[in-house]
Symmetry: C3
Amino acid sequence: MTLLAFLDFASVFVFALTGALVASRAQLDIVGFAFVACLTAVGGGTVRDLLLDRHPVFWVAEPSYILLATSAAALVFFTAHRVESRMSWVIWLDSFALAVAVPAGTGAALSLGQPAVIVVLMGMATGSLGGLMRDVVCNEVPLVLKQGELYITCAMAGAIAAVGLMQIGFPQQHALLACAAVCWALRAGSIAFGWHLPVYRSRPPRS
Amino acid sequence: MTLLAFLDFASVFVFALTGALVASRAQLDIVGFAFVACLTAVGGGTVRDLLLDRHPVFWVAEPSYILLATSAAALVFFTAHRVESRMSWVIWLDSFALAVAVPAGTGAALSLGQPAVIVVLMGMATGSLGGLMRDVVCNEVPLVLKQGELYITCAMAGAIAAVGLMQIGFPQQHALLACAAVCWALRAGSIAFGWHLPVYRSRPPRS
Amino acid sequence: MTLLAFLDFASVFVFALTGALVASRAQLDIVGFAFVACLTAVGGGTVRDLLLDRHPVFWVAEPSYILLATSAAALVFFTAHRVESRMSWVIWLDSFALAVAVPAGTGAALSLGQPAVIVVLMGMATGSLGGLMRDVVCNEVPLVLKQGELYITCAMAGAIAAVGLMQIGFPQQHALLACAAVCWALRAGSIAFGWHLPVYRSRPPRS
């Protein structure tokens, strides 16, 4: 299996786990778990493929992604009651999913020969839109836009790292691994130690 | 008119009625009714066509779908005040729309020669995503994900029935009619008699 | 620069300002500002391009749209605290963005030789969907569907004006300028003077 295919499968599986955990908070049935898991798992990559006119869409070409996401949903359905604090599992698993989805999206755009700014944007879209769809559909506050945390910033930094390393001559595989590392390190630092950028604060009261 | 075209028109019309009824709950004007009606009516099929790279999208090729959805919106705008309990009309009309949209989506994917798992997924997407967009945009609890009801399950069972019947030799028309019947029977049973799958319940308190 | 390119750039810039102002209400950091600004700025045109199978999507072909939207986000991040009532800035800027996005969408569909009804719908989609995505993602009440205001109606009237004027022989440039004027005049009248269409009111209590 190539590195790109591995990243795709890993991000589908881990995002599906987060989707199913959010479904468990909404107390859905097993088909609802599978629906939210699939939406979360393939949402970002689907938007990326549509935007780049990359057909067939990755999971239409290879339906085993869907079976993988459904298996993740079933796994969570039968085991999540053993988990103590599900929201913190969602947040940590989501950080791993982000750290594999961003290099997956970045690599896919690179393999199409897109310019640097589009490569970075596709890494960011692949990493963030599945989780955003999960949270909008299930009516949770989007992790992506949670105040005072790094999220899109991690995706952007990771994708920029990959593009930068390739431009100074590193091979794509190393660049994508560095992308994953940067992404996860920033996100984990934000979750564990509260790393953040200055947030906007209005001096007049919120209008 | 072929069976597939009839199913498409019927699902557009009935989903448009549900969209307009939801617009009536939000007290929009007639253009707002038409907007929500069109979004609901063509949303699921549009996603299906984009995912399968099926261009032109069905309503771009045949704008009479839009005129039909707009007429449904006008009909509701001028008559809904005569209806006693609009939410139960939404739910029952939505069940009919689901039961025609799932075979429409399934048939469209079959006619493109997609493999069985993609056919089932396209049936499910066509049936559920229009209603999901309606509810997200109008800030209602999505019917698709309502706790303790069958919805996606009905779409999945109907689509699987169609694919199964065709694989044991039934003609496509009969398979699609059976799909509609399975879909509607399950959904109606869930609305009327509370049929449901076991929902997830955590033993520790909801985290 | 052609009129169409100018309209595209102007609508991206002004919609990005509104997205960043909504991000300021959610107190995001600068990357969050840029994310919401880009989503708002290119959302409507992206859906238009996907629906019409117009590849590459406008901002993939010309990434300077993204840089422009990001600059607008940075501008708002560093200056919005000087603004007294940000919500009314959002509403008024949004009216200008609408008035340039609708002719931009209309013109794009005209240049592809689409029939009149599709041209009108594409003008409406380009004008309204970016703002709708902004409000759904940031959990604001969608401006597009705000009760008792003209919004989609303005987009529709503007697009119909453009199509009508071209059919009686006006050149496209004049028709698009008239489209912008109709759009903005109706929207401004609705904001300033409360112009609206009759809204639906049920005689029985809201069910």
